[in-house]
């Protein structure tokens, strides 16, 4: 069972809607007993970094999530803020992140490029390191996803970057280390492109 962790941040309904369309059962919950039994976890999230970490702390979920991700090693997908939370830190806040992938979250310095923030809209992802999250379904030649964010992730090791996107600079729009994965974009709102990605995740 895929568990979508409900820590009060973001549009959980959309992820469940798309999984349902893929024929995948999922539960949206913050209950420890249910999270403990999850075969896969999705860490969604929209909003501020510290608020997100604080909610996870308040719900006393951090130890359990660490256990699932690092010891039990179930597939975990962080989406948007959820991806940023699995890094070590963020320029948006003061609290430490979950630190599952050696990376930090930085603010877009796009003024020098004369670009607007948030980076909001459809953009291309160039897959790298041949990750199976970006398996190409028949008939698909590009990777186009919906983004909404003001902060981006910088990995210490580029081996952990599985997708790149350009917005002023090139940034890591998808990352992975073993069973832990993250996408800066919203697969649940990216039509067939997102559906293919969530299917790949579901099939892991």
């Amino acid at each position: 069972m895929i568990v979508i962790v409900d820590y009060g941040m973001g549009n959980l309904g959309s992820i469940q809607n798309m999984l349902r369309r893929l024929g995948q059962d999922s539960t949206v919950t913050a209950e420890k007993e249910i999270i403990a039994r999850a075969s896969k976890l999705i860490l969604p999230g929209v909003g501020a970094f510290d608020t997100g970490m604080q909610r996870l702390n308040d719900l006393q979920l951090v130890t359990l999530l660490n256990e699932k991700a690092l010891v039990e090693r179930v597939p975990v997908l962080g989406i948007c803020l959820g991806m940023q939370l699995i890094t070590n830190s963020s320029e948006e806040g003061a609290l430490p992140g979950l630190g599952w992938i050696p990376a930090r979250t930085l603010k877009f310095q796009v003024n020098e490029f004369d670009l607007r923030t948030p980076h909001m809209g459809w953009n291309e992802v160039e897959p790298s390191n041949d990750h199976h999250l970006f398996k190409v379904p028949p008939g698909q030649s590009s990777f186009r996803y919906y983004f909404v964010h003001t902060y981006f992730v910088e990995c210490e090791d580029h081996a952990n970057v599985i997708g790149w996107t350009n917005y002023g600079n090139r940034f890591a729009s998808a990352i992975a280390s073993g069973n832990v994965m993250g996408t800066q974009f919203h697969p649940e709102k990216s039509h067939k492109f997102g559906m293919a990605l969530l299917k790949s995740f579901s099939d892991m």
């Binding site: 929209v46 607007r116 809209g121 003001t150 917005y167």
Partner: protein, 256 residues
């Protein structure tokens, strides 16, 4: 601001009334078009960039959104949806996000509660909060002013530029600027208004009101809009305005 990095978005803007899909001209004379769920299925198949849904009665009356119906809609839509109409408190937004709506469009409630943008963006993040401004031109010099159904509190700026800057400072993640005079006329956007607003803020600006062709979309983007929203252009066909749910082909949009 340079916008060439992102594909320009074309966003169908759909008006809801009593679970029916309607279209207005200059915010008046709503004409019934059909079942919104049908329209949404078509937009979904056409892989539209994004959708804006506005429940026009609820924004007037201030009654809460039709959650059950929106849930049905959201479960069919695999693109971002912004919803507006009857949003007056944080709990309403929380419920909408939970059922699969990404963004909320805030407008009417600002007249009485100017602090709401700040409150909502702090709780849900800037990118969730779309502030919509309806602009009317009037008087001898056709001066434009942000229009509300009731007279807003003093700190809400009436001047479009000042309003946009205020909304950004309060925490809006995006602004939809609508020209009331052009709305539903399909004669082109109010480009000077779009340019004025786009120049005065650094957040994305969605231009709305008057799109009748792909050339109008292109002109809106050239005037500085990050995205263009269109009602009639996506629901009518031909000079007699036959109802036809349509959306340009991806290759035509990418070429803009």
């Amino acid at each position: 601001m340079r916008e060439s990095v992102l594909k320009p978005r074309l966003i169908p803007i759909l008006l809801l009334r009593e679970r029916g899909l309607v279209k207005t001209v200059r915010f008046a004379k709503p004409q019934y078009l059909g079942d919104p769920l049908n329209a949404l299925k078509i937009f979904n198949e056409k892989e539209v960039d994004e959708l804006i849904l506005l429940d026009i009665d609820r924004s007037k009356s201030g009654t809460e959104p039709d959650y059950a119906f929106l849930k049905e809609i959201a479960s069919e839509c695999f693109m971002p949806i912004a919803y507006g109409g009857g949003i007056a408190n944080l709990e309403t937004i929380r419920k909408l996000l939970r059922l699969g709506i990404e963004k909320v469009s805030i407008n009417s409630c600002l007249a009485a509660n100017p602090g709401f943008i700040r409150e909502a963006s702090r709780e849900f993040g800037n990118s969730t909060i779309v502030v919509s401004m309806d602009v009317k031109r009037s008087g001898l010099f056709q001066r434009s002013a942000v229009h509300f159904n009731r007279s807003p509190q003093a700190q809400v700026p009436k001047d479009p530029k000042a309003f946009a800057q205020w909304a950004q400072a309060e925490g809006a993640g995006e602004i939809v600027v609508t020209s009331i005079a052009n709305e539903g006329a399909m004669g082109g956007l109010d480009l000077s208004l779009v340019e004025l607003v786009a120049k005065s803020v650094t957040i994305p600006v969605i231009a709305h009101g008057g799109v009748g062709s792909l050339a109008d979309v292109k002109a809106g983007v050239a005037a500085g809009a990050t995205a263009v929203a269109a009602g009639s252009f996506c629901v009518y066909h031909g000079p007699r305005k036959a109802v036809l749910i349509s959306y340009p082909a991806r290759k035509d949009l990418d070429q803009l």
